[in-house]
Amino acid sequence: MFLHRYLYRYMKRTRYSIVFAALVGLMFVGRLFSQVPQSGLPEVSARITPDTILIGDRFRLTIEVSKDLAQVVDFPNFGEAGATSRDTFEVVSVSGIDTLSRSGRQHTISLTYEMTCFEAGSYNLGRFPVLYLDKNVMDTLYSKEPLSLVVRTFEIDTTKQQIVDIKKPIHTPLQFREIRNYLLWGLLALALIGLGIWLFIKMKRRESIFAPRPEEPPHVTAIRALEDMHEQKLWQNGKHKQYYTLLTDIIRTYLEGRYGISAGEMTSDEIRSALRSAGLETLEYDRMDRLFSTADLVKFAKFIPDADENERLYSDSYYFVEDTKLLPTEQVPPAKEESELPTEKGEEDNR
């Protein structure tokens, strides 16, 4: 029956299910007449090496077929390598079909199955089938001799065995790669904890996390911006509106930094009155008055001043910044008692 099951699986795989019934019949007939030598039919032989194995060992089942070149045979399929073909047997690997010998039109081919077994016992494997096809003939041929396999197991004499304790783990020397990951994660955790503590301390002291860049005096920013703007040659290219917008923006930013006036959000009139309140000298005030008046006309009334006017207002702005800039000595808080004032020597030292 073992062979019948193989055959059935084989038939299923080769999709000859339509003639399955006929084949089963043929198989029985084949069995009846298999002992009778038939001239012209392929000869099938099978062998197992070794035929006695220790449990779990591997053995090789080799099926050889001697046949005419024109004859077609198909070896049995016990399943994929690695799959258990029977409850007790497992196919480990299947070799490719190998040609062993060739003489004229006659040649011998073989297929080897490497198998294993994990159950002790004596097994009668029977004869192995090969499907034979020749023109209109389809038949199953069997190996001549039935095969058997003995699977032995270990013989343990329990009377002589001593009960021993479980072996302790083997101590191997510690290697860096084993602790490398722990070390890295540990260092990262330490770094994060350190950063957290540092931030906490900084926040508690209300200090800035990043060291503030020394603030640039407003006149430095303004002069640089004015020079950059001048290099752009805006009014020379007909961009009067852009020129005056940029010019007033620079001055507005400067006024914010220099006098603390929110000039960015102020109208020209508001800036004028704020400058008046800031106690600007008449010359400086007039410069700004001219600038904002002309800028308003250019920005909002499409007025195009002449080149002289453009340059004059640029110079006015430049010298306004230069003349009103805060000198370093002016930045020192003036409110000091006379006794606290540095002496002449002290001043010299400071210098």
Partner: protein
């Protein structure tokens, strides 16, 4: 438009706006102080927008309008809004004449150049609606006939901010139809002294006609020509958007105080009023100062306050100031 155009426009506006000084002078003869009120009346007159006046009684609201109508030589009517006032009392009605055996039209006081709707919030909604409809459509339908209102047509409605009992506050949608909401404050000490002296003299000064309604209509056309740069338009849009989405203008602190911002009508009114203000200042172009000068009057009644703002005693005035101080000036 080039340099010559703007010069020409400036010159034309300087000529056309000459009456402004005369008008101011005539009004100044009668009204002491209240410069802002007079300017607002002129803005409304020149831009064709109606004005809602809010102030305690006795601040010369009626006198200012009467004087303006005298100076313009226009027809003036005053309607005292009361709870029993009917729409027909306002717009007019059809009266059956037994003599001619037909209905004749009796036009109401709304048929005037200047209409003073005194204490508009004293009348129920149907009367308010009748007036507001006339304001919007500038025409009135009596019976089957539609009558256009005289031009210029300017409604000045007053509200008393103190007494709120038994009043019918104007809904937001109707308040929005007023171009400006002007809050009138008490005169200064010196002005008050002059008012006393003026009233003690026995003869009260009277404004003389310095301009005709037709001149006003011509002036309106010139006001429309006042040049408004794209930068100013953007500035106006920024202000209006700041009332709607303050957080986009770094005004997160007032987000929770505004329930609704200015409508597109607010943008239109702000632009028109800015042009009129520039005209009054005898300029042919609008500058940011003009926008800021009228922003409070245009937006005051167009910003909805939340309960939070009311609880904090924050007015729309404060919010507008905050917005104007934050939005970048071009």
């Amino acid at each position: 438009m080039n340099e010559v155009d703007i010069k020409e426009l400036n010159e034309r506006i300087r000529q056309q706006s000459a009456f402004v000084d005369l008008l101011n002078m005539e009004m100044g003869k009668v009204i002491i102080g209240q410069r802002h009120l007079v300017d607002s009346l002129l803005i409304g007159l020149l831009s064709g927008g109606h004005i809602l006046l809010e102030g305690v009684p006795g601040l010369a609201k009626t006198l200012a309008i009467t004087t303006l109508s005298q100076a313009v030589d226009a027809h003036f009517s005053r309607i005292q809004f009361t709870p029993d006032l009917l729409p027909a009392d306002l717009i007019g009605t059809l009266i059956y004449s037994q003599k001619s055996e037909e209905f004749t039209v009796k036009k109401g006081p709304v048929f005037a150049n200047f209409v003073l709707a005194d204490e508009i919030n004293r009348s129920p909604a149907k009367v308010q609606s009748a007036l507001l409809e006339a304001m919007q459509e500038r025409q009135v339908t009596i019976g089957d006939t539609t009558y256009p209102l005289p031009r210029p047509f300017l409604v000045l409605a007053t509200q008393n901010p103190l007494e709120q009992e038994g009043t019918y506050p104007l809904p937001e949608a109707q308040v929005d139809r007023f171009m400006l909401k002007v809050c009138i404050t008490y005169p200064k000490r010196e002005e008050e002294k002059q008012i006393i002296r003026q009233n003690m003299q026995g003869t009260f000064p009277r404004a003389t006609k310095v301009i005709s309604p037709e001149d006003i209509l011509k002036a309106r056309e010139v006001v429309n020509e006042v040049y408004m740069d794209e930068k100013i338009e953007r500035y106006i849009v920024d202000i209006i958007f700041a009332t709607r989405t303050p957080e986009e203008y770094q005004l997160d602190n007032i987000r929770s105080l505004i329930s609704y911002g200015g409508s597109p009508r607010a943008s239109i009114s702000l632009a028109k009023a800015s042009k009129a203000y520039a005209f009054i200042k005898r300029r042919g172009y609008v500058i940011p100062e003009d926008v800021r000068a009228v922003a409070h009057d245009v937006l005051r009644h167009r910003i909805g306050l939340t309960y939070e703002a009311e609880a904090e005693n924050i007015s729309s005035e404060d919010l507008i100031t905050e917005i104007l101080n934050r939005v970048d000036v071009p």
